[in-house]
């Protein structure tokens, strides 16, 4: 049957192409790793001149997810969103409350979520004296958000990731250095390179404590 042969040939070609991608990735992996080290994807000790004063700034964002390809249960959506918030530098006490329209354990076609979290921002010069206790050292860092670093990201998350970028990242003082345009294909997990202010890890490994109750 020629039609079946054509389908089989296309399928084989796709597999070969995927294998080719894998080979190419293996070939370039050391280079990519070296470049990522250079670009500051991994925490490094900063020069004193890079360190700035920062404070936690609380944010409230209403998030709406309208699924066309990937459906999440309410709990899964909350977890995904919380992990994405942590990936963009939110303090570890972020709260996400999804309001789902179908029963909570069902996959949701659309859901609203309330995101409440704190992220580091530059401490305003005028505020330093008023809130001296809340000021901590930080530095601008470029970080890569991808599956290699965040295991929870899956190819199916592209839709959610795009909504998150549009509704959350774009509203914050975060610079998107590079974003992946291949995400929609369904083969690749979402990825994005951003520049954010992160608490400075001192040589003693001390980080500012979160004010968690």
């Amino acid at each position: 049957m020629p039609a079946l042969n054509t389908v089989f040939a296309r399928w084989t070609n796709s597999l070969n192409r995927l294998a080719g991608y894998q080979m190419a990735m293996m070939r370039y992996l050391p280079g990519v790793f070296f470049l990522s080290l250079l670009s500051g994807n991994y925490p490094v000790l900063a020069n004193q001149s890079d360190i700035v004063s920062a404070r936690w700034d609380s944010q409230q964002i209403r998030f709406r997810y309208q699924a066309s390809m990937t459906f999440y249960t309410c709990d899964a959506l909350e977890n995904k969103l919380k992990n994405l918030l942590y990936a963009i530098g939110a303090r570890k006490d972020a709260r996400v409350e999804a309001r789902c329209f179908d029963p909570a354990h069902h996959a949701q076609h659309h859901a609203d979520a309330l995101l409440a979290f704190a992220i580091p921002v530059f401490a305003d010069v005028g505020m330093e004296s008023e809130l001296a206790d809340d000021i901590f050292p930080a530095r601008l860092q470029e970080i890569m958000i991808n599956r290699r670093k965040y295991r929870h990201l899956a190819p199916g998350d592209c839709e959610l990731f795009a909504d998150f970028r549009r509704q959350v990242v774009d509203k914050l003082d975060i610079v998107i250095v590079a974003k992946d345009s291949h995400c929609r294909s369904g083969f690749f997990a979402p990825s994005m390179k951003i520049r954010i202010l992160q608490p400075h890890v001192s040589e003693a490994g001390h980080q500012p404590e979160a004010n968690i109750d």
């Binding site: 609380s58 409230q60 409440a116 305003d124 003082d173």
Partner: protein, 229 residues
């Protein structure tokens, strides 16, 4: 810290309205008619026994004598500085009750005392009480200054900030309730800024002081274009 300084600080918080008025040319900020405790020269704290004796003496004039208010506040401040916050709250509450009896239930003069109460409740981590007092502050401001006086902006901004910061605290409110109050205050403030001829930039700077001076080249540009909530 001398009592006069503490009271002055309190008033500074309430009187920063001048900044808001300066930016919004089309409106005249009508000064909030709040009691000026700093006008009463207080050199420093007296011994606790002296306050108690004075309070007893003043109560002979009537248990709600207006002369009691500054003494109760001063004694409350002394307790607050000694970290006796429960006692401080009792004296501040008594002062507020006395003020209500003399000036009326909804008089704006309570705003100054509410700030003192909030400080002590924060120290005790009574987050529900803190939220209640912030809500009361917001309600009092709207009752006393319903016409959108720009002088209210710093105060309602402070209330909104609390509702943004409170997400990780046991306030007895749902996240949805915090969002609702916060958004309500945001729209109210934006209406005042717009009515007073404030520009988009002034509005942005009002909410985000850290970025408005373009002093952050690291971010590329001050994200005024991102300004929508």
């Amino acid at each position: 810290m001398p009592v006069s300084n503490a009271l002055s600080l309190l008033l500074v918080l309430l009187c920063v309205s001048a900044d808001a008025a300066g930016a919004l040319q089309k409106c005249t900020a009508v000064s909030l008619d709040l009691p000026d405790y700093s006008a009463d020269p207080i050199a420093g704290f007296k011994p606790a026994a002296a306050y108690l004796a004075e309070i007893d003496e003043l109560k002979k004039q009537g248990i709600y004598s207006p002369a009691l208010v500054p003494v109760l506040l001063e004694f409350g401040l002394l307790q607050q500085q000694n970290n006796a916050h429960d006692a401080a709250i009792n004296y501040f509450t008594a002062a507020m009750l006395t003020m209500k009896v003399n000036n009326g239930l909804y008089h704006a003069a309570q705003l100054s005392i509410i700030d003192l109460l909030i400080t002590s409740h924060i120290a005790l981590e009574n987050w529900q009480a803190v939220t209640d007092y912030y809500d009361k502050k917001y309600w009092l401001i709207n009752r006393n200054y319903p016409d959108g006086n720009p002088a209210i902006l710093p105060i309602i901004k402070e209330v909104r900030q609390w509702h943004r910061d409170a997400y990780n605290k046991q306030t007895g409110r749902s996240l949805q309730q915090h969002f609702t109050v916060s958004e309500k205050i945001y729209h109210q403030a934006m209406a005042v800024i717009e009515r007073c001829g404030g520009t988009r930039r002034e509005a942005y700077c009002f909410w985000h002081r850290a970025c408005c001076a373009d002093a952050r080249p690291e971010y590329g540009v001050c994200p005024l274009d991102k300004f929508s909530e």
